[in-house]
Subunit: 218 residues, 2 copies
């Protein structure tokens, strides 16, 4: 896979800018479960996903988590380079949900190019606006939606991503996606099981009735 | 007050760009309580606050509200012009909390200038990153903080903004800031009163013990 073909505003950069971008680029392979970035102090650079899957999340002081958004093939992660803007005053963590290959663009290189290139800066605006939209969607879910709807939506999303109705996921992992406690998820899944929506077995949640789950999440 | 002196990247725009910006500008005065913007369909333009106070919030289908951030003198509101970026996929509402005078920059003018001016585009990135940080802060509050801490923090913030310990605010308004129900706020404030933190009277919440409120919010 070719960086030039993936990077959206490549053609709008001049020759010198393209060379600077390529010169700074490095490739990285990480295994499922690896934490690639953790908090603001750590200005790792922008991630451009070649293949795999990343998860951006926040952590509470007590170690609770909530997933903000996922990154798939060709997605770009800006907040692993939060030092490129002084107004980014929050910490996120990023972990690999699958074995992932990515390019890293050094924060300093990106910041310099963005300062001189309106197309790159406008692209960055769109990138941030997209993530902002993800977080606003999440905020609405957390504020106005009951947890049963959110669990139903999460199971359906997960099943779509994995292409299977048998999800290999722990109750704790689901809790960490949704920002709640394992016990709460276990209780909810048992209720779902009693209603015939899912089947639970060791480390696996199997979706039995996607239509009902879909009706529930609405 | 002079737009040229307030607008942060004025000096980095060229003469033609400055003239286009000024030509599009209009001034608007709104009274306390006026809704200036409501949702995405409505691409009102960017607001630049001369004096007064605005509140940006989201609304649930059931009419519940939560405050995202406030705008004070010289603050700029981007999301009242959400059509300038196609990736902004969320709806916010904006109302005047005090009588407010503002400039409106037409969305189309701003978008055109941003497309050609790297400084303006980078400034917009910083503006959005600042609001993103506000919303991430709020997300952490909502996810990890109990409501008593959030009510204490809100009363202290409100008292600092108004410069008084006697707040003329209804329980419903507090609920709408914090994304909860009036009854919940009433119960919490009565508990605060029984602990000697506040005194409640018709339409007024008086802070009696700021030190204890400060200890509580932490």
């Amino acid at each position: 896979m070719n960086f030039q073909e993936i990077f959206p505003v490549w053609a709008k950069l001049n020759r010198t800018q393209q060379q600077r971008l390529l010169a700074g680029l490095s490739e990285r392979r990480v295994e499922r479960g690896a934490v690639l970035h953790n908090g603001q102090a750590d200005c790792t650079g922008l991630f451009v996903v070649q293949s795999g899957q990343l998860r951006a999340y926040i952590l509470s002081d007590e170690g609770r988590e909530i997933t903000l958004y996922r990154l798939f093939d060709r997605d770009i992660c800006l907040f692993s380079a939060s030092c490129i803007m002084r107004s980014i005053q929050f910490d996120i963590a990023i972990e690999a949900e699958k074995d992932t290959t990515l390019w890293v663009i050094p924060a300093e290189t990106y910041r310099e190019l963005m300062a001189e290139s309106a197309p790159l800066s406008n692209f960055t605006n769109e990138l941030m606006a997209g993530r902002f939209s993800d977080v606003m969607w999440l905020m609405e879910q957390v504020m106005w939606k009951s947890l049963d709807k959110r669990v139903a939506a999460f199971l359906l999303e997960e099943s779509a991503i994995e292409g299977t109705s048998a999800l290999h996921i722990t109750h704790e992992a689901i809790a960490n996606h949704l920002g709640t406690h394992r016990e709460v998820i276990t209780r909810m899944l048992r209720y779902f099981q009693s209603e015939g929506l899912v089947k639970l077995s060791r480390g696996v949640v199997t979706l039995l009735d996607e239509a009902k789950l879909r009706a529930l999440q609405a």
